[in-house]
Symmetry: C2
Subunit: 426 residues, 2 copies
Amino acid sequence: MNNSFVLRGGIAFSESENSIVTYYRGYLVCVDGICKGAFTELPDEYKSLQLYDYGERLIIPGMTDLHVHAPQYTFRGIGMDEELLEWLNTYTFPEEAKYADLDYALKAYEYFAEDLRRCFTTRAVVFGTLHNEATIKLMDLLEDTGVITYVGKVNMDRNGGEHLQEKDAKASIEATLQWLNAIQGKYKNTMPILTPRFIPSCSDELMKELGRLSAERDLRIQSHLSENLSEIAWVNELVPESTCYANAYEMFDTMGTPERPTIMAHCVHSDEREMAILKKHGAYIAHCADSNMNLTSGIAPIKKFLDAGINVGLGTDVAAGSSMNMLKTMLITLQASKMYYRLVDSNVKPLTFEEVFYMATVGGGKYFGKVGSFKEGYEFDAVVIDDSKMYSMRDMSIRERIERMCYNDADAIIKDKFVRGKKVYS
Amino acid sequence: MNNSFVLRGGIAFSESENSIVTYYRGYLVCVDGICKGAFTELPDEYKSLQLYDYGERLIIPGMTDLHVHAPQYTFRGIGMDEELLEWLNTYTFPEEAKYADLDYALKAYEYFAEDLRRCFTTRAVVFGTLHNEATIKLMDLLEDTGVITYVGKVNMDRNGGEHLQEKDAKASIEATLQWLNAIQGKYKNTMPILTPRFIPSCSDELMKELGRLSAERDLRIQSHLSENLSEIAWVNELVPESTCYANAYEMFDTMGTPERPTIMAHCVHSDEREMAILKKHGAYIAHCADSNMNLTSGIAPIKKFLDAGINVGLGTDVAAGSSMNMLKTMLITLQASKMYYRLVDSNVKPLTFEEVFYMATVGGGKYFGKVGSFKEGYEFDAVVIDDSKMYSMRDMSIRERIERMCYNDADAIIKDKFVRGKKVYS
């Protein structure tokens, strides 16, 4: 199978935030890894291409996971009765400290990479640990999956405890430069991203240096923002001169620019002031509803963010989110928004299925360019799905089938997965 | 395999609402379908029994699904952007009307019964439709699964529309008596339960007659209570002399007694007054968190109900809940209670994993007698689970494994399922 071909099946993709376009037994054309569009009848000019007919199967754009912690994957689903800071100290930091051992890291990251290859995700933005060698190993493994990723060696020079902390800002920056040198030109699909864990983990000096490095080398940044009330109070103590948590990042020039956008995970408690900062910088919010429920953080007012024109994608946030399955993340995103409307503010309407499908595909995909759609000119990321386990007593429309698939993720079986026109899983 | 044997594996069950007892490579003894307890060392008196060693697999009590609509199963997962009353009229009532056609019903109920057999549920309380023949077919099929159930022919003599409504109270009661006659003595594991859909579907006369029938024939009742705000307002108009929705049921003698307990699904908006009524009558609340989030109903304050000593079990409420998988229901129950704490009332602590495991097993199991535990004297309902897909980098405790299994339901594979000591699925 080369990078130019035609797929046939039940096609669905977002036309806009509010509409999904579908084709029953439609044609999807890929030329040199780029989508030429979806069609009811195959245009003559593409009739010479190899056609792969998937019959009654569904074909949707690959999904983007904007926030996932690779080293947390193998302990997902435990300690979920804790809140953020207790969970980090009890479960996460001790686990991440083990990635100093390269053999340990290799084995654990093999599990992560293999499961990432097998899931609905074709693009991901990934946290590693603070360890250079383990992070490079992770990047090697991810490059082999065919999934396109940004991966960050984590920076943290305070509050990590004895076993998960760099000596100081200087040591952290030096390690970062060594990491960047070691991987320079090494990968086609795996890009580095600067990754200050969050303000409590990074001294002012380290944050400033990372802000400078980001601008100097045109490197993007990912971090966490306003996830948990205790965390927010702590940031307020740590950076008393900031007007809010988002402003603290801004002060250190780590909030990015529209051309070099920063990803901020969570924003559960972000108010109008933080929204203005996020919007001004063209930042992306990685909405992690599963995680935010599991750690009792709260529910982010995503509809408000969308209405304000802020970039929003979805993140699984493993291991505070318990699965890399983006369909499950979509379901929980819908449920969370319904509860925000019902319990917090009835002026903020629940997200529609259309909006959530958009965020899972185009919303997060935009971070990677023209990704997440089957419109002409988009990179050809696609997932072919067998949903026949979810029988019905009548013919369901393609639109109904993608909704019920999301509410029953266990019954949606991935048949083939393509990234930039290359089949990466079958 | 007869009804007396020993199972060996990783055993977990609730010791109380707040604690789970576990055995690594422990022994579980079943004699004549009754559990003789779990043991670290197998007592001499049971050494002559056949031993089935499940190695590293998990063994937990079967789960009770206190609320599930069989005829809704095959359209689960669509129309989920609607609220209750719109969803009923647009999707549910038109679908249920089709069960007048016995061929249709048979085919659809075969799917339902087979999936019920394959899931974690060993006891279920099931809604059929208003159609006698279809409901009897459903009961036939359920009897064959080995799962123990209560099944209700639905009563509804108003507001169902042209195609899903009985002529009047008299016709509805007559049909009910015919149904009861037709199944008398027919089943070992399948019991009838009176099923007024909810107040808006049943005239005062019908409700009164059902209350009388319940007492006369010692038949239990299931219905819905305080799920949705529009529904509650409507009940207030329909039964203006009631002090609250629960009181309306009470007025018609349909709230049951501790010996003949009524199941009320939802109770999302039940206040102290409704709680007092539920408690006084020994009623069971079927908590359906997945459904309540999907239909934007809200979150029931389950911790308050437990603290008040009200009986609470879990229900999947297919198709407003989208899956019969009780593990998924447990996960969403936990997330819902965390959001109630965070967003509604910080005096109501989130449910712990222990409490939710208890409700899924013993809490609902109690409705069926001594069910849902491996303590001595309980009926032997058990599920053997292979969780090896969910690899870990370290040995997880049995307690950790059952928690992560619940957060990753797709990775928990049922190996064997027993009901009253009989293997019903393998």
